[in-house]
Symmetry: C2
Subunit: 374 residues, 2 copies
């Protein structure tokens, strides 16, 4: 039994295995490969949802189960008609399982076979996330693509610790999936929510392969690769991706969680990845780091004080069409929130434009050349 | 000699003297009475200029000479093509003279006949504002409507102190005006900048009348009433306005600086005022105080936790069309900047809608009834 989610493969690069496709969701079609802007607390920081649509043409965004569970609470969101309505975002939403945030933000976590007991980073209250409960939370949110609960190991970890953790993640995935399927069978309505298991295994190729092979048995709508971007060298993150994707079914989307740097996007795509997300473009924007086709612009630098040029002369976003580097520098130094909006708009546009370029290169059979040129 | 600014009186309420008109500027026509959103540092906090146009249809905004003089500097803005281009705002801009901020923000100010010596609130550097220099700064910004330098007294002040101060403000206004006219005659281009003198006189009707009568001799394009909203009872601010406006020429716009509360807008209009500005709608928005047709909504209150209703059911702004009180409360508590954008958008819309209602009532001859109904 599968959800409404359907992945249509349009082109595969014969040299690299890079893929272009269409992900049909209950909230519209997503062109892949895709970079998903992050809307942690039911808002992409500084960007109104209508601008995500009109200016960025984002087709899917990510929201965080951990944050929304704690505040305002998934039951509140469910009562108000679900996350799409709550945040006025009519297109697709992917939610993580909260696993990553439990391990990075909360205090006093205690892992057992049942799940993970943790204290909220907001008020210290104790909560339990189980494979079943995180599915329930995401169904209440009305997510288009849910993630199963996984354990995120810090880097480095021993092979033994990674194996024990990966096996628990595997058992949790089976439990979560059984629960998800039971709810789908009992309540047809939740079929709109697809559910991806997550491949773990730290930086050990054998564990990654083993985990992937086991998860494929679930016949899921798509597969995620988690536990990367946790401090390891970037070559290792790419290597772990590379050993995993060949094991995953070609007709399902693959999502690498939490990556990446701008220059890494084509590298992941070259390893058969279809979906990515990262806070980097928006966080860097707020911190004054702007991505351009000619390299980074650190906007606070004195050299931009009287610079009449746009952030990126090759960019056609609102920020670059209407405003100078001098103006952005002024807003940044003055602490004006309009700076964050304009900077985020530009950085996200850059990420999304790069992904559109990549997709186009794959569709026209020029991806190997594209990869060499960047 | 007059600037390009032209005020066209369309209707006057025979009972109250309230006026509806059109203010023709070099950057478009402004329907009066008008409330001007405040863009202190060349940005209306949280609102992109294109949204000021598309959503609020604001025709004129205010910017602060003191702030822009200190950062990024008026010469930087001039080199970049002026304030309109710098902030991508194609419509009219009014700038204050910096007088109010010197007296409220800066340290160690020392007033002399020449001007006011002050230390920047940013870095402690010493600066001198003179009647001439503040005109030069505003011409460099490319303001549509400039203000002359005035002295803002704290409240309360003795009659003697108020008289001495008002007389200096008067001398400064004459000096500023002579300088402004000389620059206009020498450089035709600056004629696009109109210049308003400011009536002072603390809370003494005789001083206000005397100041206004003297300033009328300048045959200015319009007149401002300053030194209000400095802590005095509201009845007194209205009274000072009431004694001043009859002395001002009927064919020139009148601007009361820094007012007011939402419910005061029709009161000022009823006293013959055409233009107002205040940080209240935007600052209150950011602090969680929302104006509605049914009274204030303090958005953090628990009663709104699950409230699916818009902030104001009678409002058609983007915020009220798309989002619930519950969502705004969530964003406010989560510290998301999207909250400030949505809240400011609503509060400014409320202010501008009220002014449009007032204008309409004057045009159709129903302003006395309108005034009674609020």
């Amino acid at each position: 039994m599968r959800s409404v989610l359907r992945f249509e493969l349009q082109a595969v690069c014969p040299v690299t295995g890079a893929r272009a496709g269409l992900l049909h969701t209950a909230h519209g079609v997503v062109e892949t490969p895709v970079f998903m802007p992050v809307g942690t607390q039911a808002a992409v920081k500084g960007i109104l949802p209508r601008i995500l649509e009109s200016d960025l043409d984002a087709k899917i965004i990510l929201a965080n189960t951990y944050h929304l569970y704690l505040r305002p609470g998934h039951e509140t969101i469910r009562r108000l008609g679900g996350l799409h309505k709550f945040m006025a975002w009519p297109r697709a939403i992917l939610t993580d399982s909260g696993g990553f945030q439990v391990f990075s933000l909360s205090r006093l976590r205690k892992i057992s076979e049942e799940g993970v007991l943790f204290r909220s980073h907001l008020d210290g209250d104790q909560h339990l996330f189980t494979p079943e409960s995180t599915i329930d939370v995401q169904i209440a949110l009305g997510s288009d693509i849910m993630m199963v609960l996984d354990e995120c190991l810090e880097y480095p970890a021993s092979h033994e610790a990674a194996r024990v953790s990966m096996e628990r993640t595997l058992r949790w995935a089976r439990t979560a999936y059984a629960h998800y399927r039971a709810r789908c069978q009992n309540e047809g309505v939740v079929e709109a929510c697809a559910c991806f298991p997550i491949v773990q295994g730290s930086m050990f190729a054998d564990l990654r392969r083993c985990c992937a092979a086991e998860l494929v048995q679930l016949d899921a709508d798509g597969y995620a690769i988690g536990g990367l971007s946790v401090g390891e060298p970037r070559a290792l993150s790419l290597e772990m991706t590379e050993v995993t994707t060949p094991i995953l079914p070609t007709d399902r989307p693959r999502y690498v969680m939490g990556v990446g740097m701008l220059e890494e996007l084509p590298e992941y795509v070259a390893r058969g990845v279809d979906m990515m997300d990262c806070v980097l473009p928006s966080r860097n924007a707020r911190n004054g780091y702007l991505f351009t086709s000619a390299g980074p612009v650190i906007i606070k630098q004195t050299q931009y004080k009287d610079d009449p040029r746009p952030v990126d002369e090759a960019c056609s976003c609102y920020t670059c069409r209407e405003f100078s580097r001098a103006y952005l520098r002024h807003l940044f130094l003055a602490g004006e929130m309009t700076y964050s909006t304009l900077a985020t708009l530009h950085n996200l546009r850059r990420y999304l434009d790069i992904m559109r370029e990549i997709r186009q290169a794959i569709l026209v059979g020029k991806f190997p050349e594209y990869l060499k040129s960047v």
